[in-house]
Each structure stands twice: as C-alpha cells, then as structure tokens.
Amino acid sequence: MIALLRSEWRKVTTIKLGWGMLLGAMALAALGVVAQIASNGTPGTGVPPLSDPETQKSIAASASSAYLFSVVVGIILITTEFRHFTSRPTFLLEPRRGLVIAAKAVITAGVGLLYGIACVVVSLAITVPWLSAKGVHVDWVANGLVVVMVGALFVVAIFAVVGLGVGVLFRNQVAAVISALTYLFVVEPLVAIVPVVREGYRYLPGGAAAALTGAARVQTTLLPNWQGGLLLLGWGLLFAFLGWILTVSRDIP
C-alpha cells in the first residue's frame, strides 16, 4: 500500500496539472473574501456588520469554493490514466485493483486537502490584515471560525474524491467534467430554490457542504453543522465505493 501511495503521489507531482487549477481556486477564494468585506456596510443589503460572527463565518467559508476546482482535479487525475493508458502498468504491477483505487482515493483526497489549505491561507492573508485595519476584532475560536475553516478543508478534500468516482464512472474526461459542473452549477442550485424539492437540497453533496461551512445562503433549512459533515463524508465514501466497484468489475482499457 505504501508503494502504491508513493507511485500515485509521483503521478501527481511529475506532470504539470496543478498550477493553473490551483491559481484558479485561490483566486475564487480571494474573490469571495474581498467581495464580502468590500461590500459590507452597503446600505440596503441587510448583511450584518463585519463585527457580527455570522458575517465573519461567511467570510471564513470562502475557501470552500475551491471544491469546484477540486472536483475537477479529482476527475482529471483518474481520467488522464484512462486516456493515456497509464493505469495499465499500474494494474499489471498490482492486480489487486481495490488496493490501487484505495491508494488513488487517498492521494486524490490529499491533493484536494492541499488545494483547501492553499485557499484557507489566501483567505486568511486577506482577511486578517484587512479587518484589523478596519479595527474589527475577530475572535477566531469563540466565533466558530476555526470550525468553519476546518470544515472548508474537509469539503474541498471530499469533493476531490467525488471527482474520482465520477471520473471512473465516465472514463471520458470531458464528459465527466461537464457532467459534474452541470450538476454543481445548474442542478443543485435549481433544487435549492424550487419549492417542495428544495426540502431535499440539504441532503445533496452541496447541501451537506453548505451545512458544514454555512457558505450558501439558501431559501431552505440546512442540516446542523456536524450532521452536514457526516453526510458529506458519506457522499465521499459513496463515490469512492462507486470508483472501487466499477474498477474491480470492469475491464481495464
């Protein structure tokens, strides 16, 4: 297993995959922070002032937007293997396919975690000096901001594993990316606003992530924070299981 983890990690570090995607994720997180701090206090928005813990949580949750990138990275890491047949030598060296996919899932989650860490660092680098310049006192622990940021890391890592499962399912990179982004940008937001169905939104991956970080302001109630986290973990495991079952049952191309 250690050998497989090393091999899978090398696959990540020996190709130029990450930098563009990583910069994109960091930029989106930064944008979320900047937009919320800069617009705060605009009359008529109804947003509580920066000193309000809810506003601070929402700012801290900006890093979780990186899940849009980590899901794509998860997809790319696995579909690249199908596209270039690099999975073949891997499965020849380790015919126990379940072990291979487990190593892949661990490394994919790790890459997602690194994306999350980078985005949390960026949002902190903007938030801390800016709020202190504005004279806003922030109590990171008492206001639950640390919990929100850890939640954001978790969200970004889990979505990378979701991408792995989607990638195994589709095998084709373009089809997998388009399907995943259509779901996250179109299907889930629609579910969140359509009456009746929106009651189910809280159980979807995006709804569970929102519950964990409080990032989304939606017109439906979300699960309590910890339940959202557990549910999201469940979604991650489900997609990892999907990747596993499809890998052991189908032919390797």
Binding site: A3, T14, H84, R88, E94
Partner: protein, 311 residues
C-alpha cells in the same frame, strides 16, 4: 493437458480463451502454449484478437470463458506479478507530459524497486540521452523502447510484447531481435511477441501461434508451417467435381487469384490419382512454392483453412 505440465515455471497456457464484446466474438475458444527459453510469435492480421488475448492473460480483461495462466496460475494469483511478467500493450501507456525517467520512477515506486533501476533500463534500451525529455516529443520507435524499458523494470522471466516492432526502423528491429534472442537463449526467459506482419518477426521467432478472427489457425514451428502449407496448385475446368473427388482426402482447398486452387494436406500424386479415378479433367498439377508471407496472408484471410502442425 495435465495440471502438472501446465505448472512449468514461465510457461504461458491459454485454454479455450473466449472474449465477447457485445455482438463481436473477438477471441473464440483459443488454446495455445508458450514455452520458456523460446521466442514465440503471436501472429494475425489487425483485429484478429491478439491484444484482447494478451489483455485476458494479463488479467486486464475478464475472459468470457476459458483461462489464461502463467507458471500454472492466473495473473492475479502470481505472488510477484511485476517481477514475474513484463508486458507491453499496443497503445503505449505514457502521460505525454511526463519525462521518460519520471515515467519509469512512477512504476519503480509501485513495484517497490529502487529509483536507480529506472536509469538501468533506460540504458538497456538506449534512451539514456532522452531520460529527462517529455514523452510528448518521442518518436514511435522511442516510445516502443520506453515501453520495453517499463516491461523490463522488474527483471521479469516472462515477457509479453504486443507489436513491439511497430514503428521501429530496420536497425531498431535488428536490435530488438538481438535483445529477444538473448532473453530466450541466454536467460531462458519466455518471450511472446505479437505482430500483424510476419516478416517483422520471421527471423526472430522459434515458434508461431497464428490466429485469425479470434481462432487458432496454426501453432508450431515456423519451419513446419513452410513445409506444411505450400500446398499443391491444381487447375481444373470443373472445380466442383474436383472438390467432391478430393473430399475423402480431408484436404483444405483455397482459391487462387488466377482461377486455380491450392490444395493443402495431400501430395500431388494422391491428388492426381483421386482426380483420375473420379474422371475429373486437370489442366495443371504442381507442388506450390508460396513464400512464408504468402502462406501467412492466405491462412489468415481464410480462417477455415486450419492446419495442424506436423511436428
């Protein structure tokens, strides 16, 4: 075949291998044996089922029925598959953005081999100079060499190479020939090498397994194929009567472009006698002299013309 004889170290055995893709029977009840210490050619035209057969033996594709074993066990049962079997499949398995050395190091890690092994195999295949270049810029010949290097990482005693000569220049083919002969003759390894062009491997192989449309056409020594298959050229204005007259001889009859037929499985004397007894008019009767390549093309174009090895 008894279990004992199948369990020879390094022997590859396919027995009744079958693979169905939807409507297509890509491999159809294929059985053959590949012995250690020899180079065996796995021949057949494009689409014959060579790659699919190798994928089944390697456990990448599940057989619809039948089994493939190496040293008496399935690929998944091998204790150290990476150190027992080295394989190259047709579509070369590289990420274009990875350097040759990094490509090999990815798999050194998976096989638990030290990184310096990557440089050793690069030297064997003559790619040391290109070690740090992205595979993207590699010629087909360089890719073939890198694929071979990947297969050699674990110093395997069994090599399965799918179309390794594809894209190699004549110099490269000569180099490959030397390497494969060395593996079989000096090291006693098992070498199975597929090709859709007989002439690519003709001078390298000891034995051949020829397939067409997923079925076995011929298994045996190349030299015997030549002897067994040259056939007898017969010309007659009444071919139907000729076929009827030759039926008791259990021969294979195939049409030739010039209107004559090639009869395999009987001597000119036996054919002449049968024709005479049945009062079939003959205009030509002579021993054929087809080249090996012609024989190969004819055999694989008409998979009903099954030949048994005389050895």
């Amino acid at each position: 075949m008894s279990t004992d004889s199948a369990a020879v170290e390094g022997r590859i055995v396919a027995s009744g291998l079958t693979k169905v893709f939807g409507q297509i029977k890509a491999v159809d009840g294929l059985s053959f044996t590949v012995e250690p210490g020899s180079v065996t050619g796995f021949l057949g035209p494009n689409g014959a089922g060579k790659t699919t057969t190798l994928r089944m033996i390697l456990g990448l594709a599940a057989a619809t029925s039948g089994t493939g074993t190496i040293s008496g066990v399935t690929y998944a049962q091998l204790p150290h598959p990476g150190r027992t079997v080295g394989a190259v499949l047709e579509a070369t398995s590289f990420h274009p953005g990875r350097s040759a050395r990094n490509h090999l190091r990815v798999f050194c890690a998976a096989a638990g081999l030290p990184d310096k092994r990557a440089d050793e195999v690069l030297e064997w295949v003559g790619l040391t100079q290109a070690a740090t270049y992205s595979v993207r810029g590699f010629s087909l010949g360089m890719r073939q060499r890198l694929a071979l290097a990947t297969a050699l990482l674990g110093n395997p005693r069994v090599l399965l190479l799918d179309e390794p000569a594809n894209g190699l220049d004549p110099e490269g083919i000569a180099w490959l020939r030397g390497l494969l002969r060395h593996f079989a003759d000096v090291d006693g390894r098992t070498v199975l090498v597929s090709s859709h062009v007989l002439s690519e491997v003709e001078q390298t192989v000891d034995r051949v397994v020829i397939i067409a449309k997923g079925r076995l056409i011929y298994e045996g020594r190349l030299a015997d194929l030549e002897g067994a298959s040259a056939g007898v050229v017969v010309r007659s204005p009444t071919l139907d009567q000729l076929r009827a007259a030759l039926a008791p001889l259990h021969v294979t009859i195939t049409s030739r472009l010039d209107g004559s037929v090639a009869v395999v499985g009987a001597t000119p004397e036996a054919i002449g006698r049968a024709a005479w007894e049945a009062r079939v008019e003959l205009h030509e009767l002579r021993a054929g002299s087809s080249s090996l390549e012609e024989t190969f093309l004819r055999l694989t174009a008409d998979p009903t013309g099954t030949l048994e090895a005389s050895a």
